[in-house]
Structures are given as structure tokens and as C-alpha cells.
Symmetry: C2
Subunit: 82 residues, 2 copies
């Protein structure tokens, strides 16, 4: 079994409305020291693969086919043996 962590972030230059609204809300609550907020999404996936290489290969395919949108997202994958 492998623990796969996929971190999905917006590409540089792509607007992050959730981050902007969070920043606005924090300012309204009086946190004026907040200069910027970015949001990221993490998928922690437990994979029953035979090797680390196979797990990485599967995770790459999952990112390309479901987890990320290549137009707006960058992602990275980290893998640990359980």
C-alpha cells in the first residue's frame, strides 16, 4: 500500500476567487495584516500498488484524467510507503 498525496494549485496568473474572498472576509474581521490568500486542494489517496513506480504512474494518470484541469491547474505528487 502507498500513501499518495496530490497537491493541486492554480497556475500563476489564474484568478483564485476563493482566496480573494477569504482575504476580503479576513479584512472585514479586522485582520488588516493579511496581504494575500491562495487556496490549494489536496487529495490523499491510498493506493494498493505493487511498486512505487506503478503508484506514481497511476497517480499521474489520475491527475490528467480526473483530479486536475490542465488549463488552470498545476499539481505535484508525493508518495510514501505505508
Amino acid at each position: 500500500m502507498f500513501d499518495v498525496r496530490v497537491t493541486v494549485r492554480l497556475k500563476k496568473g489564474v484568478s483564485d476567487p476563493e482566496g480573494k474572498n477569504t482575504k476580503k472576509a479576513l479584512h472585514l474581521l479586522g485582520f488588516d495584516q493579511v496581504k494575500n490568500v491562495n487556496t490549494l486542494r489536496i487529495f490523499d489517496i491510498q493506493l494498493d500498488s505493487v511498486s512505487k513506480k506503478e503508484a506514481l504512474n497511476s497517480a499521474e494518470q489520475m491527475c490528467q484524467r480526473l483530479l486536475t484541469n490542465p488549463v488552470v491547474h498545476d499539481y505535484d505528487i508525493s508518495i510514501e510507503k505505508m
Copy 2:
């Protein structure tokens, strides 16, 4: 300036519908080796604080007042000087 990373996860025992649906979709795509999927949310916040202690204190308050729901979420905070 400090880089504050707030990681928000669901508490143990709290249902993660997004993770469950992601798992279901991955199975439909043929990734049968997927045993479980959990989702996490990260907020990367740039804070203009004078000290690390003040930044940590502010981040704690932000979590309690806006970023997390104490009924369902656990969170941790990491801070780096920029």
C-alpha cells in the same frame, strides 16, 4: 512578512463526500487499486506581522473565526519568514 500555511482536514469519523465521490469516479475510470481518498484544504496566507509569535496568534484567530468549523474540522498551522 510571514508565509502562513493553514491545513484544514475533516475530523476522524466525519464523512468526506468529496473524497468518496472522487474514489467512486476513479473506480469508474478503471483505477481499482484506489482504496481510499481524503480531501484537504490549504490556505496560504501572506501576513505582514512583526513577529512569528504575532503571526501564529493571528492565524489561530483566523482559523477559529473564519477558516474552519470546529465541529467538523481539525487544522494545523505552519509559519515561515519570507
